[in-house]
């Protein structure tokens, strides 16, 4: 069983990523391309913008995530928090980014709500509140998107430690609840989320989907520039684009090194804080104020969704009216045929790839249940697509697919989707499987059930809820994937994500809003289904892992 599982993982997840990076490195070995790259106007600013926005967004998102989980734990609200954040995680990056443009821009939702009664504006002011040169709107977008993900990861890690006992101990030593949390629990959790945190960080530094609508444009972040070269019609830009993706990889690694330095510093600060001996019983108030900050990502995400809906139904969204004069569902109705097609392929792809990912993870999970060392290695391997900048291997992989004649096929698209779902499914299912009380399975075996039967009768039902949840998350991941779909699909496989991005990058916000709303809607339905099925299957039972 074990060799089969390992071979499958390497063939399925390891080889494409390695080959993709390999091809990229080979194609980038071109001195002319590097010279052109380094002479590109504003290349220094481009690199700086990528590193700056990625670092700030990740640090703030991590801080907010810790604060959220800490406050929720103090108030015993962890479960409710989880229910609250899942819809936010399912929100695709692009839909969120377009929604935020519609909220933040001078003609956006915020100023509409305040105009003209408070601001006196009858025309939108000429303010650069989105795509600002400092990348603040991009940073905000990344924070809104990544905080809920980190919260989920922290909640998952929390279940692996005797958090209540640790808290009780610290409290009995006289520490206030927040200090007890920061000093005794938070460092433990932090160590557990290193892998997903790195993925978040690399995404923040290198992403294209959120940087196109929200990021600075003159010059854009490095990821966007490389992406523009890859899609430009001049052949000589191709080598330059490959060189650019290697530079992107270097920037991501550099940022990671800086982050590592930062954690060392943070550790020193935390230690000094712990050793100071202050009990901080009164420090509650500042934290209560900070609790308001926790609401920021949620508020922005919800207003972004509202703005998407408003824009999609208003033919003309004249400032400062909140809703257009010609409120109509006509666009939605006109879009119906192409929406139906795009939704059809989105759902087909998402369902089939989610099933494939779950099957593969279940196989590894069961065959490697006792092998801690391999489990860790597999975890890193499966995370590779998230730990590397997408652009650093997708184009390499693409030229490989073209050579093999596999591009433009559903198989290729499905494969790449599964590749990106595996880390999430593994993250959720491996943890859930490890938390299962092994005595239950042992009991089944003592009662005479074989390996397969005890799995079917005990393990499977106990894992049903986490599996459904992992399936819903995988569905959401697939529905949001743009670059892999576009490239592996050769433009032929059209999903809601490709439609929304093509509308957004050609600047048609209303069209993008309509597709974005559909893109946000699909994973929410999947999540709802997963929750309802999970509830129905275990109604009236206690202690079943959620």
């Amino acid at each position: 069983m074990k060799p089969v599982a390992l071979a499958l993982v390497f063939a399925f997840a390891g080889i494409p990523v390695l080959a993709g990076v390999g091809v990229t490195l080979v194609e980038a070995a071109n001195p002319v391309a590097w010279k052109a790259l380094l002479q590109y106007p504003g290349i220094g600013r481009t690199v700086a913008v990528s590193a700056w926005t990625g670092c700030v967004a990740t640090i703030v998102a991590l801080g907010l995530a810790h604060l959220t989980v800490g406050l929720a734990a103090a108030a015993a609200r962890a479960e409710r928090l989880r229910t609250l954040i899942l819809p936010l995680i399912a929100l695709p990056h692009l839909a969120l980014a377009i929604g935020l443009v519609l909220v933040l821009s001078p003609s956006g939702l915020i100023l509409r709500l305040l105009s003209p009664w408070a601001t006196g504006f009858h025309l939108p002011p000429d303010w650069q509140t989105v795509q600002d040169p400092w990348g603040l709107s991009l940073i905000l977008g990344l924070i809104v998107k990544e905080t809920p993900f980190l919260v989920l990861m922290l909640l998952g890690a929390r279940a692996q430690f005797p958090v209540d006992r640790l808290m009780l101990q610290s409290r009995s030593l006289g520490y206030g609840p927040m200090k007890a949390w920061w000093v005794s629990v938070a460092p433990l959790l932090q160590r557990r989320i290193r892998l997903p945190l790195t993925a978040v960080f690399v995404f923040a530094v290198t992403n294209v989907e959120m940087a196109i609508p929200l990021g600075p444009a003159m010059p854009p972040p490095l990821g966007v520039v490389v992406w523009q070269w890859f899609t430009a019609s001049r052949l000589e830009l191709r080598a330059q684009a490959f060189a650019g993706s290697v530079l992107l990889l270097v920037v991501a690694l550099g940022a990671l090194a800086a982050a590592w330095g930062g954690t060392c510093l943070a550790r020193l600060v935390l230690r000094a804080y712990a050793e100071s001996g202050h009990r901080e019983l009164r420090a509650e108030r500042p934290f209560r104020v900070l609790a308001l900050l926790v609401g920021v990502p949620f508020t922005f995400a919800i207003s972004a969704m509202a703005a998407l809906a408003l824009r999609a139904v208003s033919a003309m969204w004249r400032f400062p009216a909140l809703v257009g004069d010609h409120l109509e569902l006509r666009l939605v109705a006109q879009l119906a045929p192409s929406l139906k097609m795009a939704l059809g392929s989105t759902v087909t792809l998402a369902c089939s790839t989610a099933i494939a990912a779950i099957a593969l993870v279940t196989l590894i999970n069961e065959s490697l249940i006792d092998d801690v060392r391999w489990r860790t290695r597999i975890g890193v391997l499966l995370f590779a697509p998230l730990l590397l900048p997408q652009l650093a291997f997708l184009f390499g992989l693409q030229s490989l697919l073209v050579r093999l004649g596999l591009d433009g096929t559903w198989v290729a698209v499905g494969w790449e989707h599964t590749l990106f779902e595996l880390p999430y499914v593994w993250g959720l299912l491996a943890a859930a499987r490890k938390q299962l009380d092994s005595r239950l399975i042992l009991t089944a075996r003592t009662l005479g059930a074989g390996g397969l039967r005890s799995w079917r009768a005990v393990t499977l039902p106990l894992l049903l809820r986490p599996t459904l949840l992992a399936g819903a998350v995988a569905f959401g991941v697939s529905a949001a994937l743009y670059l892999p779909t576009l490239f592996a699909g050769g433009g032929r496989v059209m999903t809601v994500a490709t439609e929304a991005t093509s509308a957004a990058s050609s600047g048609n916000l209303r069209l993008a809003a309509a597709y974005g709303a559909a893109q946000a809607f699909a994973p929410l339905i999947a999540l709802l289904f997963a929750t309802l099925i999970g509830r129905a299957a275990f109604s009236g039972r206690q202690g079943v892992p959620r």
Binding site: Q128, P219, S233, L235, Q334, N508, R510, L511
Partner: protein, 406 residues
């Protein structure tokens, strides 16, 4: 099932033969049928055509969807609109396929392009053809009255691309805000300074933004004939007045010239929400269409420079490695039919002017166009032809170097 299919194609062939038989009686019919097109249509039946076309405008997407339904009904060809944000994406894909050694079975069957992208594919010898002569409806094109249908940015099309629509660079303004629209670069500059933050143009290398600076260049150079020839060492000298104009306008433009909308539809959206008083398009009917579909206020009007508007055509081409050139020709032939062209020119649909010579159409087809021409806004001023495509690339490079980093 295969029997049914064979039966259906048999009937179809009979229909085409019948049409072919009566065609000589209507020498100037709008859908002349030649033995060759009948054969092409026979081979195309039951196939799929992947049509790579810019998809940033829902009005155009809907038109293509309508064409796909009609083509499927009449010719049994499945037309799939592969939606791209920029046709350069498809050109890159074709180039990449060649680099990977895929000389047939390519992923693109038909693409919508002009100018730079045509030049790139033609120079790399990556276009199928010449095929235009094999499409009967190509004979209806007004090549004499509209020479841009056979010269794409000064390059002869040589039968490698088929004109689909004709375009004319048009500026649109909100007449409630712009009372006396400027008609030359100098007065436009004065208007911009009098109304800071209310004018901009799409960011080059977006094709519309590049066209705007080409339009300015043609109006500002002392010798417009120079730019009809390939760019040379005199680039800096020739373009000096253009950069002087842009430098002067920059600080008073939208976002003080530190940000530009990414595309034409993006700028139209900014006009719609009220951030701008101007937008631009390559389609003189764009304003009427947007008003008809409530996307812009009904006070929006079109204008062009008194020195002449940049005019060009946009085309359909088939890549050399296309899997299905026959199907692509069936699609192209339909898109050039009077019926498809009338619908395309309708402002309640797309509003893209026809390339057909209305005088050679059949009586009934001419009547279709007749009703429409009353509504179409021809706009004042003459027509300027596009510069040689090598200028676009140089202008884009220089623009990015000058304004790309703020």
């Amino acid at each position: 099932m295969s029997v049914g299919l064979a039966l259906r194609s048999g009937v179809a062939i009979l229909v085409f033969i019948f049409q072919g038989a009566i065609a000589p009686g209507h020498a100037q019919s709008s859908s002349p049928a030649s033995p060759e097109i009948v054969e092409i249509e026979r081979r195309g039946r039951g196939t799929t055509v992947y049509f790579n076309a810019w998809a940033g405008d829902e009005a155009i997407n809907r038109y293509i969807a309508w064409a796909a339904r009609e083509i499927n009904r009449r010719y049994g060809v499945t037309l799939v609109h592969v939606k791209v944000a920029d046709i350069a994406e498809a050109v890159t894909r074709i180039l990449a396929e060649r680099a990977a050694g895929r000389l047939s079975e390519g992923s693109v069957d038909l693409l919508w392009l002009n100018g730079e992208n045509f030049a790139a594919l033609r120079n790399a010898n990556l276009l199928y053809g010449p095929w235009v002569d094999r499409v009967p409806n190509a004979r209806l094109i007004d090549t004499l009255g509209n020479p841009t249908t056979i010269r794409d940015f000064t390059l002869p099309t040589d039968g490698y691309e088929l004109a689909w629509g004709s375009a004319r660079f048009t500026l649109f303004y909100d007449s409630a805000a712009v009372l006396d629209p400027p008609r030359d670069p100098k007065s436009l500059l004065a208007w911009i300074w009098a109304h800071p933050g209310r004018f901009t143009y799409p960011r080059p290398p977006n094709f519309l933004g590049t066209s705007f600076i080409e339009q300015l260049l043609l109006l500002l150079v002392p010798d417009p004939g120079r730019v009809q020839h390939p760019v040379g060492s005199d680039f800096a000298a020739v373009t000096r007045p253009l950069w002087a104009w842009l430098d002067a306008a920059q600080p008073a433009m939208w976002r003080r010239g530190r940000l530009f909308p990414p595309s034409g539809p993006a700028q139209r959206e900014l006009l719609g929400v009220g951030e701008l008083d101007w937008t631009m398009a390559f389609n003189p009917l764009e304003g009427s269409r947007a008003i008809a579909q409530h996307e812009l206020p009904d006070t929006v009007r079109g204008t062009s420079f008194s020195g002449g508007a940049l005019a060009n055509s946009h085309f359909l081409a088939i890549p050399a490695n296309a899997r299905n050139p026959d199907g692509a020709m069936v699609v192209a032939n339909f898109l050039l039919s009077a019926e498809a062209q009338v619908r395309k020119a309708d402002v309640s649909v797309w509003g893209d002017p026809t390339v057909l010579d209305i005088t050679v159409l059949s009586e009934s087809d001419r009547r279709l166009f007749g009703e429409q021409s009353a509504a179409s806004d021809q706009g004042p001023g003459g027509v300027l032809s596009e510069p040689h495509p090598s200028w676009s690339a140089e202008l884009e490079r220089e623009w990015i170097a000058r304004y790309g980093v703020r």
